[in-house]
Structure formats: C-alpha cells, structure tokens
Amino acid sequence: MSLAGYEVEVQQVGDGGLRTEEMTLNMGPQHPSTHGVLRFVVKADGEVMREAIPDVGYLHRSIEKISEKVGYHGFMPYTDRVDYVAAMFCNQGWAMVCEKLAGLAVPKRAEYCRVIAAELNRISSHLVSVGTMVLDIGAITPFFHAFREREKINDLLEELCGARLTYNYMRIGGVAWDLPPGFVERTLAFLDRFEPMLDEFDDLVSVNKIYVERCANVGVVSPEAAINYNLVGPNLRGSGIRYDVRRDEPYSVYPELEFNVPVATGELGTVGDSYARYWVRMREMEESARIVRQCFKQMPDGPVIAKVPRKFKPPAGDAYIRLESARGDMGWYAVSDGTEYPYRCKVRTGSFSAMSIIDKISRGLMLADLVTLIASLDVVAPEVDR
C-alpha cells in the first residue's frame, strides 16, 4: 500500500488476512521529552516499541575543531558549551589536559576552589537530571522544587565567577578568582538547608508508589552490558559497578577528601533499572555536599593561579586526562605541536555512549518507558554531539 507517496511493505497476519503494520514514529528533534534536540526513530507496535534508533548530530557545533583556531587560553569559554548543564567539569578537563601537556603544577588553594565549584555544579546538574526525569514521568511539582534549589546554586556560582550557566571559571594553572568574601558562609547556609530538602524530595518522589512502579525494572542495563557499551558515571554505578574516577584514578585533591561512592543495590526494582540510576544520583548529591563541606575545612591559603605565560606554548606531545563529570568519566585529549594552537583536541563524553545503549535496551519497552529511559540515562544533547 502507499502512504503519503511511499510504498510500504505490509505483513499478512492470520488466516483472515488482517493486515497489520508497524508504526514508524518520529520522536524529536522537537519533542518535549528529548531534552534538547535528540531524535529517535521509533518503530512501534501499538504502545510497545520494537526499536528506537537514536539519531545524533543535531547539536554539532565543531567545538573540538574550534580549539585549533583559538589557542589554549581562548578555548576555555568554548568548553562551557560542551556540556552546559555541568560546564565546570569541561572547564576543569581542559585546564587539566593543558597542565598535563605543559607539566604545570597547580596551587593547592586553586585545586580546592576547583573541587568546590565542580561539586556544586555536580549537585545542580543532578538536580536538573532528577527534576526532568520526574517531570517526564508526569509529576510537575518535584521539577520546580529541584530547580528552586538549583537556582540557589546558580546564585552561588554567579558570585564565584559572574555567570550562571557557562561559567568560564577555571584557567590553565588555576582558577580565575578566589572565593568571594562571605562565600563560605553562604554556601554552608545553603547546604544546611539543602540536605533536609533532599529528604523531602525523597519523601515526595523516591518512595512514591506510582513513581517507583514507573521506574523500577524499566530499562534494565546488566553490568556486562554497561561495561560493553561503555557506560560511565551514575549510569555505570546504577548497574552495580563501583567505579568512580575520583576514587579509582584520583586527580586534583580528591585523595585528601573522604566520600563514598554510592552504588545501586536494587532495593526497589533491580540493579541497573531506571530507578537505580535515579537513586544513585540522589545519593551522589549528598556525597557532593559532604565533599564541599570538607573542602571548606581543609582549604589552605595561598595563590589561586600558577604563573602561566600569556602565550601558552606547551612542548610538542599529547596528553589524555580523565575526570568524573556529572555524567561520568569524561576524557580530554589534546595534541600539541609546540605552537600557540592545539594541533587536535578530542572530548570523550558519557552521554554519547549512553545514547548508543538506548537502541539495545529499548526493545520491547512501552512508549512511555522510552521517555523514562532517556531521562534516567541523563542524556544531555550538546554533550552528545559537541
């Protein structure tokens, strides 16, 4: 039969010749729950999906290529746009890879400033993730509660670096500014309020019968699949694998800090389901708050930036660093040819590998579960394409 000019192959089912065909749905790039511009081509049999093929590339901005034209210092603001929900980590990644290229040592206080900013950013990023996940499942209020808390973190980070979303806070060799006066008190006051609010969020959402029914046992990623598909960060820990770059390949001042790495245990549902990933993010926010408190206690005085020449020319060679961003193990690779401009830069992000597993685990799920799955994998569109 022909549909809108296209010939469609139709299957004959049963003796009566009842003709059925799979419905091809175009989900995105403009769809309310694709969190930006993602596209899925969904083959649906009624409400059940046969497959959902992700189509990436709608948000490609050639950020890696830009680095080759703007130089090492100049590339820092562009890194904000790699993952604008958690821009601090991209700042940190670029700073770290340049420092490794040049063999620079970073002052201790700068490292603490970086960790404080990054962990606050991790909290705000996870708040976006859990908030939008609950919104995608249909509850409106928790989304606003999460964003209310995020707003306060945005205020704090605005004090720190003058921007609320694209921070451009870190520099090669340190950070741009020291903590402003009163920042410690205001952050501690925020954390004092934030931790009880997390409990309230748990009361409102995490034990909600409908919410648990919607997330538990939906989109189960086995530990093997998680490793094979290269899942990282909360998605990997949601599958029950205790791996965190901060703990296993420590960078910055993380060895001096005490924190747990939450891993899903499958109390509600199974290990590796959407609920487990959500649960890991909730617990990680508590740990981040703990880390920030420790940083304030342990922070030494001193300069916040090393002496770095304005014309930054690292020796020829290459460097790869990894750090634990809000979406997991983020890799930065840079090749220097000894000039002012990087020869090549490459970012390895968690969202891209999370996209690739959707095709595998979405088979046989309901249409509504695809939305849950995308949200629980915390796919951020700009990070997929860069």
Binding site: A139, I140, R148, E151, R193, E200, N208, I210, A368
Partner: protein, 395 residues
C-alpha cells in the same frame, strides 16, 4: 420571562405554534444560556485558580499581572485563543476535525441537565438522572477519538486511542461504584438521592457504611480517569505524546477541549457531592425559599469546589501511570473492589434497611480521624520546610 414571551406571541412571532411549546422552548433556551455562561465562567476561573494553586505548591508566584492578583488572566487567555488562527492541517479530515470539539462540548454540556444546584435549581430532575449522566458523558470519548483520528498525526492517534481505551474501561468501576447508592435509595433521580441524605456528615452516604466509603474513593478515582486528569492524563501526556489528541488543534477549537477538561472537574465533583456528600442539604435555618435556595447553591458549590481543589492538588503531586498499569489498576483492582462494594452494600441494606446509626457514627469518627491525621501531616511538613515556603524568588 413569561411576560416577554407573551409580548412576542402578541406581536405574532409564533403564529401557529401552541403557547405551551413557546414557553417550553423559551425556558430551555434560557436555561441553556444560563448554564453555558455558568460553565464558561466556572471553567475559566478554575484554570486561573488551578494555576495559582500549583504555583503555591511549587514555590512560584503564578499569573498575577492581569487584574488584581491576576484574577482575569483566564479572560485574557480566552481572548488570545479566540483571536488565534484556526488551522486545519492539509492532511487532516477537515469535517471530522472541525466537528470533534463540538461533540466533546455537547457531551459535556449535556451532563449539566441533571447536575443539581439547589433543591429548585435544576434543569430537569430526570427520573433516570444518574444513568443519563453516565451515558451522555461518554459522548466525550467519541469526540476525543474523532479528534485523534482526524488529525492525521500519529501522536494524536495515540492520544485518541488511549483516551477511548481508558474512558471506556473506567466507565465500569464508575458505574459499579454508583450502584451502592442506588441500592440504598432505590432511585436514579439526582434530587431524590440528595433528599435521602441529611445536612449533617453522619447522614451522608459516604459514612453510611464501610462499603459506601470505599465506593466514594473508587468513584472519585474512576471519574478522575474519565476526566483525563493526573495520574490518568495519558491521552494528553505532554512528555510522551507531545499534546495527545489536541496536538494539531489551535485557537477556539483548542479552547473548547480545555473548557471541557476544566469544566469536567466541576461535574466530577458535583457527582461526588450528589451521591456521597449530602448534595445541597443545609440545616433548616429559614423558611424563605429564595434565601434557602441560595444557601443550598452556596453549600453545593463549595462542596463541589472542594473536590475540584483536591483534583488540582493530586495533579500537582502525582506522576503519571503507564498505559498497562492504567488497565491493571482498572481491571484487577477497581472492578473487583467495586463488585465487592456492590455485594457488601446489598447485604447491608438487607441487614439494616434503615441504616445502622452505630456504624454511621463510627464511620464519621473514622472519617474525621483521617482528616485530622492529614492536617497533622501537613503541619509536620510545613514545619520542616518553612524556610523553603517563605523563600521568595524576588529576594
């Protein structure tokens, strides 16, 4: 009214038509106008109140620009929608597409024929009132299905099919939960059902016996599902189906769908109040019929609006359930429980033909105990999050 019609007849406007028919038509027309205006204002104000209630729950301000505290925001929204271009997609079935909103509105407005406002204020006290109500409200499904199919959009189709499956399924527990009341009263007329109850809470059918108490909860759940309200708002699940069956609609037709959605809230609550919460019954405080009717109207309206507020609160709190869970909830839990209620009430009516005053007192106590516990929990949470509630986005 009569004088006006008499003058028209005298001027020879209705030559050859019996006077009684003119009177009847005039009354029907007047009633239709009154009801339509009431529904328009009520549904509009409900949208505004819902947005403000949500805003309060969600630490936001909500619309507060148009009129005092944004009170005429709904009017501005309505005018905006009226002025929008009325688009019909090229690939859509234009006749069905244009017809669908009217079918929905007709199905919804027809329910108001039997919705009582006070002991005198009712368009028609049909002796099959509640049966009529459940029947005509099914017209809404037809309209939604038409809208979903004719849009020629896959998301709309999903919405329409979901709506049909959902509303048809939930008609069954809804009807089965109405039966216990009919068993007790032996009538289908809305006014007679209210007259069988009293003004005091222990005279209400919700506290008549344990089965009616359960039936009232089941009925409210089932009616929420029929009205496409959260947690059963699957037909227009915005994060899954873009906007469900209204995806392709714009302007006035879009407004009609939303008029029905918010107006339906009042109908749902009115059914609940009529069947279980004593309707318009007030203590006999005055002999003046006008004052008494106004008082009854006020009591009925406040009770019904309380139900509307609960629906808003539920919508602001609960996530949406999945389509298979929707069916599971209906067929595996609500329907068997409704049957249990039906049998239980039948046995109860045989055992206590005039109702058991001990059980009524006990049920009332339990009901008030539940309300007390709820208030206690609310106070607990208010204390815990006072700092958050006083937090202002403008500070």
């Amino acid at each position: 009214m009569q004088a006006f019609l008499d003058r028209l007849i005298a001027q020879g406007y209705f030559r050859g038509v019996p006077t009684q028919v003119v009177y009847a038509l005039g009354i029907v027309l007047a009633a239709a106008l009154v009801i339509f205006v009431f529904v328009l204002i009520m549904a509009g104000v409900t949208t505004f109140i819902e947005r403000r209630v949500w805003a309060r729950i969600q630490s936001r301000v909500g619309p507060n620009r148009v009129g005092p505290q944004g009170a005429v925001q709904w009017l501005a929204d309505g005018l905006k929608l009226l002025m929008k271009e009325d688009l019909v997609p090229v690939e859509a079935d234009p006749r069905l597409f244009r017809l669908a909103p009217y079918v929905v509105v007709i199905g919804f407005l027809a329910t108001f024929v039997v919705v009582p406002f006070s002991s005198r204020l009712i368009v028609a006290d049909l002796n099959v009132g509640i049966l009529y109500l459940t029947s005509v409200s099914s017209l809404v499904v037809l309209g939604i299905l038409m809208a979903g199919w004719s849009s020629n959009n896959k998301w709309s189709l999903f919405g329409g099919i979901r709506a049909a499956a959902q509303i048809v399924s939930y008609e069954i527990p809804a009807a089965l939960s109405i039966f216990p009341v009919i068993l007790i009263t032996g009538t289908l007329s809305m006014q007679s059902i209210i007259q069988a109850q009293g003004w005091a809470p222990w005279d209400w059918f919700v506290f008549h016996n344990p089965f009616t108490f359960l039936a009232s909860l089941l009925l409210y759940t089932a009616l929420l599902a029929e009205g496409n309200r959260t947690p059963f708002d699957l037909p227009e699940a915005d994060t899954e189906l873009v906007a469900g069956f209204v995806t392709e609609y714009s302007g006035t037709r879009y407004m009609f769908f939303f008029l029905v959605e918010w107006g339906n809230l009042y109908v749902i609550s009115a059914i609940m109040v009529t069947l279980f919460l004593g309707g318009w019954q007030v203590p006999p405080v005055t002999d003046n019929a006008v004052v008494l009717n106004l008082l009854q109207f006020l009591v009925f309206f406040l009770k019904a609006y309380f139900g509307v507020l609960i629906a808003m609160w539920i919508r602001a709190t609960l996530p949406r359930i999945r389509v298979d869970q929707l069916m599971t909830t209906c067929w595996k839990y609500l329907v068997p429980l409704s049957f249990l209620n039906l049998i239980g009430t039948a046995v109860w009516v045989v055992l206590f033909p005039n109702g058991s005053s001990v059980m009524e007192a006990l049920m009332t106590l339990i009901g008030f105990g539940l309300v007390g516990y709820f208030v206690h929990r609310v106070r607990f949470h208010l204390r815990r999050s006072r700092a958050e509630l006083t937090w202002s986005p403008f500070a």
